[in-house]
Amino acid sequence: MDVLEISGKTVDEAVQKALSQLGVTRDQVRITIIHEGKAGGFLGLGAEEARIKVEPISPEKEKMGEILEVAKDTLETLVKLMDIEGTVVIDTYPDETGEQANAPIGFNIEGDDLGILIGRRGQTLASLQYIVRLITGHKTDTWVPIVIDAEGYKQRRIEALQSLAERMADNVKLKGTAFTLEPMPAYERRIIHMTLADDPSVFTESIGDGESRKVVIRPKQAGNGKPRTAPLHENNGRSNYSNGRPGGYNNNRSNYTRKPY
């Protein structure tokens, strides 16, 4: 629905007209009076029509504004209660693929000494983000992804992981052997997977469980573009590859169930 301008003898009449034309109720629109209108004198001479502007309120948009406010409040309160000197700024935050925002709400905390807030491998930041999501969700009765960054840490990390992924993929192509990266948390593994998803000569998968789960970059067989091993979605995908490699990287594969990343 677009913005509608409508005239009537009085404001009330214009409003009624607009509502019936749009088929909405009064609380679904925002009405701005452009011109009050005048009743006019004898026989309606000199009367002026009232003119109003009617703007449909998008419920999601209104709700998002509220959520944004609650989330920002919550984050500011938490930062303050943690005795951290920092300023919360709203940030449009690209998601892991570098594209604009599957995460509609983003915050960056700016300050001088925020290393303590980021924590080892961003763990503290992750906890803070989790708590803010929880509180915001509880207060607004919705769940919205909220991303919290500090001093652009996540942004830098994404870039670092992307270039790491590309470097290691080049290596794999050159040598024709698989390469296993360090263990990483899920969202970091995801960045690696996404970065190399379109690469025709390698494919990636995650192995291991919990804290030690890590990404392996493997070469695809030359020519057919198919993985050298069995298709990705079979549980025995790595068996012929791992055979003859005693003490390899995936000893526990018997009880290992595949996760997307």
Partner: protein, 75 residues
């Protein structure tokens, strides 16, 4: 220390009035004890203790800034 736990707990439970936090200090550092209504216990602990763990992480940061240690117990 108390205020941080209290704020988080009160913001995620259904009965904020039942949230009680006590603070003790011993040679190990600060011990925070969090008490909530029975029905809210799950809300402050979370699946596999995830919420409690996240609260502990934030408390640790605050304690570290003060040069001490802090533990959180949920009663």
């Amino acid at each position: 220390m108390k205020d941080l736990v209290e704020y988080i707990a009160k913001s995620i439970v259904n009965q904020p009035d039942s949230v009680k936090v006590t603070e003790e200090t011993d040679e190990q550092g600060i011990i925070l004890k969090l008490q909530v209504a029975d029905e809210d216990k799950g809300r402050v602990i979370g699946k596999q203790g995830r919420i409690a763990e996240a609260m502990r992480t934030l408390i640790r940061v605050k304690a570290a800034k003060k040069g001490t240690k802090a533990t959180l117990e949920i009663l």
